[in-house]
């Protein structure tokens, strides 16, 4: 008899690969069926994604989009590893963005571009970290559900950012509520020979560093212990209050950094009511990557192509861009189901949990069998 727990690294990798890729495929198939039901052609859509996301120089646009997405992914992973569900990412991202688009034009006027960029990044991280304090402290002190508090703070952040863009950071030169445009010379430089800004390199480096810290240092081990069981963590002498605050601050700060990188690398200014909601898309991807920063990179690359190509492709297929949300939601659903079936298979158990068998099948059994159940 084989012992199911002893598996080689290659087998584990294969299982992880299957469990990560199957949900994506299933989600794309079901999304295609929904498109058919709505009278759009899924083939046109996916051909469009390929055309506008990869061919020509479009792959460079996809890689540029990856920069903020990968940093958001790292930020989410830091919190999720500790079982802290920081879902205030939209607000944190916009706060970081508004630091860049609001402070940027002022700073670039008074100091060298290199220095100003560094200052913007630091301020963005700090603003993001401070914004996460209320959810973190409520969670650490009273165990208040951080999902709710971080979400509510996110809605407040969206309002604050809009007030700032319409108020102090508004460009007096235009009538539309938006910040002043940062000149091309001050933006993040391109990687030589391409039109991909160096934010992409920053993002990849951050992912690799995070991977190392989380999997190869004592801090990473502490995060994992805390995530597995806060009680056990307290038992081995970890200060769980500080752990919650630190992880939340790191997570939120990184997501804010992603916002400022996006502005300084790509957009150069920010309009009021602009909310790309990158976090919504990235969140399922970090689950698929099993909270490993480097493993998240290929998934983010896949989504970046889908989003870059999908925006135009959706318009051509007569759909709204919000259809991407449906695809993301489907990936999440199929991920949980694939995980469930895989786990049941590994344990050699029935695919139906015992309680469900009783509830669903009992009325169909004969009375004699029922007594033994």
């Amino acid at each position: 008899m084989t012992i199911p727990n002893e598996t080689t690294t290659a087998q584990r990798f294969a299982t992880g690969f299957v469990r990560s890729v199957v949900p994506v495929l299933l989600a794309l198939i079901v999304a295609g069926l929904i498109m058919l039901a709505m009278g759009s052609s899924p083939l046109d859509f996916f051909a469009g994604v390929w055309k506008y996301g990869i061919t020509g120089t479009n792959w460079q646009r996809s890689l540029s989009l990856m920069a903020p997405l990968v940093i958001v992914a790292v930020g989410l992973i830091v919190a999720f590893r500790g079982q802290l569900w920081n879902l205030g990412y939209n607000g944190q991202y916009l706060l970081g963005a508004v630091v860049a688009s609001g402070l940027g034009p002022i700073l670039y006027g008074v100091m060298p571009a290199f220095l100003a960029t560094i200052v913007v990044f630091i301020v963005a991280v700090l603003v993001g970290a401070v914004w996460s304090l209320i959810p973190a402290i409520l969670k650490a002190r009273y165990g208040t559900n951080e999902i709710i508090t971080s979400l509510v703070m996110s809605f407040i952040a969206v309002g604050v950012v809009n007030l700032l863009i319409k108020g102090v950071f508004k460009d007096p030169g235009t009538s539309t509520p938006q910040t002043a445009v940062i000149s091309d010379d001050d933006l993040l430089p391109y990687i030589p020979g391409t039109e991909i800004h160096i934010g992409f390199i920053i993002a990849i480096v951050l992912a690799v560093v995070a991977q190392y810290v989380l999997s190869r240092t004592s801090f990473g081990l502490r995060v994992d212990i805390f995530g597995a069981s806060p009680k056990a963590a307290r038992h081995v002498g970890l200060n769980s209050t500080w752990m919650v605050i630190l992880l939340f601050a790191l997570s939120s700060g990184l997501i804010a950094l992603a916002g400022s990188v996006d502005i300084l690398g790509q957009f150069a200014y920010q309009r009021a009511d602009w909310d790309p909601r990158y976090g919504d898309a990235v969140m399922p991807l970090v689950f698929l990557a099993r909270f490993r920063p480097v493993a998240a990179i290929p998934f983010v690359a896949f989504y970046a192509v889908l989003a870059t190509g999908g925006t135009l492709a959706a318009q051509q297929a007569g759909l709204n861009v919000d259809f991407l949300l449906v695809i993301v939601g489907l990936i999440l659903l199929f991920m949980t189901v694939t995980e469930y079936i895989g786990e049941r298979r590994r344990l050699g158990q029935s695919y139906l949990p015992p309680g469900l068998r009783r509830t669903v099948l009992q009325p169909f059994r004969k009375a004699t069998e029922r007594t033994s159940a």
Binding site: M38, F155, G159, V326
Partner: protein, 311 residues
């Protein structure tokens, strides 16, 4: 300024408070029933939108608000089926499923609406008012409170009935025990999974009704992301109310007050930026969370799938 506080002004103010509070109240009562049975539904933002959209479409095609509300409830039940099968039956991660339902609800309603209704005008118009004889003639509170649509009264009676049911009936006792200590419900001969299944479907119906109320009566139209975080506010209110439906009703009215104050200030002459008006309910919610942080208690078995014999 005092001459602005006329009877007409107060009447409109009270009516606004009620029309803003009702969708939240229905959704929060739905979430309360689910949570009391031990199922945390983070997807109610999506469920509300699906209820709102189905209610909107059905009302537009049939012209009947009652059938529209019913369709909203059915839409909510269908949307909650994902929660029922994946979370209650299979015991999968409630956070992931809840967010999936929210994203799919937001995405699909937005896509369908923009595909079908952007070209034609889509206001549903006002609902016929049902004046209560006698009470409806009282100045100020008469026209604002006692001349509501019949749907309002049915919803209020439904909520009060559920408040009674949850606190005083056998059904309520089993539902609460499924969230407090499922093993004791099992030992007493109850069926945890069936109790939770019924609670989740009922919860879906109420959240869907909340969404439909928002679309049909509060705004009289649908737009993408219509709820704008209302589902999450409902979850907060549920957490703070600790399963007492009367408290849910009161906190929902406080929320309605917060929303109605902005436009009212504008009538009086203060100009408040729209962004602050949009933020105000969330600020009040976070302040409530900070002040009452200690008392936000959830059922012990919330979100844990029940397996007989498992520790």
């Amino acid at each position: 300024m005092s001459d602005m506080l006329t009877a007409a002004f107060v009447t409109v103010f009270i009516a606004t408070v009620i029309s803003q509070a009702m969708p939240l109240m229905l959704a929060a009562v739905g979430e309360t029933i689910g949570e009391q049975a031990g199922v945390l539904n983070l997807g109610i933002e999506g469920v509300m939108l699906i209820g709102a959209y189905t209610g909107f479409v059905v009302t537009l095609t049939t012209g009947d608000f009652w059938i529209g509300m019913l369709a909203g409830a059915v839409g909510g039940i269908v949307a909650n089926l994902a929660m029922l099968v994946l979370n209650v039956w299979l015991g999968l991660n409630q956070i992931v499923i809840g967010l999936a339902v929210t994203l799919i609800g937001e995405g699909i309603t937005s896509v369908l609406y923009l595909q079908n209704y952007t070209t034609s005008p889509t206001s549903l118009g006002a609902q016929p008012k049902l004046a209560i004889p006698g009470l409806g003639d009282i100045p100020v509170i008469g026209p604002s409170l006692f001349q509501q649509s019949g749907i309002f009264w049915v919803c209020i009676i439904l909520i009060l009935g559920l408040a009674f049911g949850l606190a005083r009936t056998n059904w309520g006792l089993s539902t609460r025990s499924a969230g407090q200590k499922p093993s004791s419900l099992d030992a007493a001969g109850g069926n945890v999974m069936r109790t939770r299944s019924i609670a989740v479907l009922l919860s879906g119906a109420l959240v869907g009704l909340g969404g439909a109320y928002l679309a049909l009566l509060t705004t009289a139209t649908f737009s993408p992301m219509l709820t704008n975080g209302l589902g999450f506010i409902a979850i907060v209110i549920t957490m703070l109310s600790r399963g007492r439906i009367l408290v849910v009703m009161i906190t929902s009215l406080v929320y309605g007050l917060a929303v109605a104050i902005g436009p009212a200030l504008q009538v009086i002459g203060f100009t408040v930026p729209a962004d602050i008006i949009k933020m105000l309910p969330f600020i009040i919610v976070i302040v409530m969370l900070i002040v009452f942080a200690r008392s936000s208690v959830v059922p012990p078995a919330l979100g844990t799938p029940y397996t007989r014999g498992a520790r």
